[in-house]
Symmetry: C2
Subunit: 221 residues, 2 copies
DNA sequence: GTCTATAAGTGGATAGAC
DNA sequence: GTCTATCCACTTATAGAC
């Protein structure tokens, strides 16, 4: 009947759940409240989901699919730091700005402490791959002689990326406000850019004179 | 009667609440459960606290007092980076290891998203003073000619300290496990030390040769 | 697939005896 | 200050009619 709206009831339930849980947390949201907002009977929800936890699971599954899609759109296959950092930054912003995803990332952050699937996603689908990505980058840079050999690329990856991870927590736990989300993203992006600038300037200066921009020039080769 | 145990009922209620809430979160803990574990009737709790939220408030008040006490025990009044970093690190470990405080800090982190008092404590009593402290330090270092003038001390403070803030979130949200807490603290301390080493080495190398340890020598004056 | 009705339990909180 | 008894709103979930 009302499927003309473009979305089936199942999707509407999920979307309302995302709205409510991202605002108030999993425990504070009831099936009743979701049903009311979707404008169906409580019991109808059980025709689409086994129960409350199952709705939550489907939200995380949806996040995994969506972030995979975004990941596929972007290909990073350069070792030119200038392009690289810009690409990585764009990728981050693209994820954070995606309408469907931003609220789910808020849910992931606020449910980390009690939901294993949120914890797993954050650690294994987000943090770990990021560390590995940047480790690879720094490894290549050391091989190219851009960074002193004595540094461990994994350590550099953490030094570089933990700053960003803090910004994520700051965004979703300390500053989060749905109404001002867009300007928060802008702040975050500027903050991250400043960090990138500082960090690469720092590691590029080693053993050199004052040529602080060397990292942002084209690869000599 | 049973106050011979050393603690009054009011304190026992608070301590049980800390145990339970730090494990399961505020919403998942009921007055009923607290009463059962304290071994008193539910209604007796209302002789000591106005209600559930009031227990939570008293926990945060307790945290504020305790951290003030720890703060008073430690005095940092040097600008010798070697001593300074060690003192600051000791201070952090002391806070994180304090039996009464560690579980409350877990509560603060997991309730940031819905409890204004937790958010206020974290932002205004913890993050902000830390930024200010390190900003002051870097300002002094710039004045002493240890760091290039072009850097903003506030920016340096964030670059330095956000790493630590991420470690705090990692401890309480990503890795938290009451049983292995002590070894987690050890990991965190090592990680932080490595960061301190790296960061001060980085900023000390600017415009200098390879004298990477210059920051950890005594003040020439 | 949607509804009404209802089960069966849990939540915070209060009244009043002792 | 502690207890028993109770209130009632709210919770997830199911049964069965349409």
């Amino acid at each position: 009947m009302s499927e003309v709206k473009g979305k089936g009831t199942k999707e509407r339930i999920r979307d309302v759940a995302i709205d409510l849980i991202s605002e108030k947390g999993y425990n504070a949201v009831s099936i009743r409240e979701i049903a009311r907002q979707v404008d169906i009977a409580e019991s109808s929800i059980y025709n689409h989901y086994k129960g409350k936890e199952n709705i939550m699971d489907s939200i995380i599954e949806y996040l995994k699919e969506e972030s995979k899609n975004i990941l596929n759109e972007i290909s990073i296959n350069t070792f030119d730091p200038k392009i690289l950092v810009k690409d990585a930054s764009n990728f981050m912003v693209k994820i954070l700005e995606a309408t469907n995803i931003k609220k789910i990332l808020r849910i992931v952050c606020i449910e980390l402490y009690q939901n294993e699937k949120c914890l797993d996603f954050f650690k294994n689908q987000y943090v770990e791959p990021s560390y590995m990505f940047w480790t690879e980058i720094f490894k290549k840079m050391i091989e190219n002689g851009r960074i002193m050999k004595k540094y461990d690329p994994g350590m550099l990856a953490r030094e570089f990326y933990n700053y960003n991870l803090f910004l994520i927590f700051k965004l979703y736990l300390l500053d989060y406000n749905e109404a001002t989300y867009d300007s928060l993203i802008k702040e975050l992006t500027n903050d991250f850019s400043s960090h990138v600038q500082f960090f690469f300037e720092m590691i590029s200066m080693q053993g050199k004179k004052k040529n602080s921009r060397s990292f942002f020039k084209k690869t000599p080769k």
